[in-house]
């Protein structure tokens, strides 16, 4: 298992990259910045599992909180509305 590099409260950015394959990082959130809400644990890397490989070493999984207005510039609503997405560590920088 890979050690977590981030802790709750850390500012992170989702990598803006578009590899092929089974990716659990939604397109809409790539390139956006948020704050680590919690560490969910470590899980098999889905990109590896989808290729019938072991998924090891397990990757830390985070819940990252994004401000809606940061993700969608034209967002209508409360300025503190947020979106929380699970992101694996290798997608964060």
């Amino acid at each position: 298992m890979i050690e977590p590099r981030f802790k709750p409260g850390d500012q992170v950015r989702v990598r803006k990259t578009y590899p092929l394959g089974h990716i659990r990082t939604p397109f809409y959130i790539r390139g956006h910045s948020g704050v680590v809400e919690r560490i969910c644990g470590a899980f098999g890397n889905p990109e590896e599992l989808a290729q019938m490989r072991s998924g090891e070493p397990r990757q830390p999984l985070y819940r990252v909180r994004f401000r809606q207005q940061e993700v969608w510039p034209a967002y209508q609503g409360n300025a503190e509305d947020v979106l929380e997405v699970e992101i694996f560590q290798h997608w964060l920088e």
Binding site: Y28, C40, G77, N78, L83, F88
Partner: protein, 197 residues
């Protein structure tokens, strides 16, 4: 046997499912009985399970704390096995409303809510819930005050989310069973709120 009703040929995915299942049975990997039992088990789960959890949290403060701390463990206390997933329970308050979506597919806390409704899997809900949650909620008949913050949870990986709604006013002294009856599936996805009935 004479066919009745409207006959539709198998769709591509139905045909693939039948072919794969027959192959697995033929090769002795699973039996027809195991497949039938699993389907039956999936069908037998219903949102009443989740409603029991919510009602318990409303009447038992320490259970509520344990539920928010570790959803899977707390459900075990009620004899609800939540295997192979980590349950995150998110609590609605007067200041924050939670809503759940899976933009990538249809991840859903099936152990507590059963099979997801079709709209949960629709492109419309999945693409709009993260982008214009207030508009989506109003289409469900839920008009949220602009002062209430919305927290949308996109369950993209290994967590599953259950919304713990606010206990409706006017239900003081109600039994757990009666409280549970106010908690619909949609309340636990976060597109509705319980009403005393």
């Amino acid at each position: 046997m004479k066919e009745t009703g409207s006959y539709q040929p198998y769709s591509y995915f139905q045909l693939m499912e039948v072919s794969l299942r027959e192959l697995l049975v033929e090769k002795g990997i699973v039996t027809e009985a195991q497949v039938a039992a699993t389907v039956e088990d999936m069908r037998s789960r219903s949102p009443e399970r989740g409603a029991r959890v919510v009602a318990r949290a409303w009447v038992d403060r320490s259970f509520r704390e344990r539920l928010l701390e570790n959803g899977s463990h707390a459900c075990e206390e009620l004899g609800l096995d939540v295997p192979a997933l980590k349950l995150v329970v998110v609590e609605n308050t007067p200041a924050v409303h939670n809503m759940v979506v899976c933009t990538l597919c249809s991840c859903y806390p099936r152990m507590l809510l059963g099979i997801p409704p079709d709209w949960y899997k629709s492109r419309n809900y999945r693409s709009r819930a993260v982008r214009e949650p207030r508009a989506v909620l109003s289409e469900f008949g839920l008009q949220l005050n602009i002062k209430t913050k919305i927290r949308v949870h996109d369950s993209t990986a290994d967590m599953r989310y259950l919304v713990l709604p606010m206990r409706p006013a006017g239900t003081e002294g109600w039994s757990e069973g009666r409280l549970a009856a106010t908690v619909t599936r949609d309340c636990m996805i976060g597109v509705a709120v319980p009403k005393p009935n």
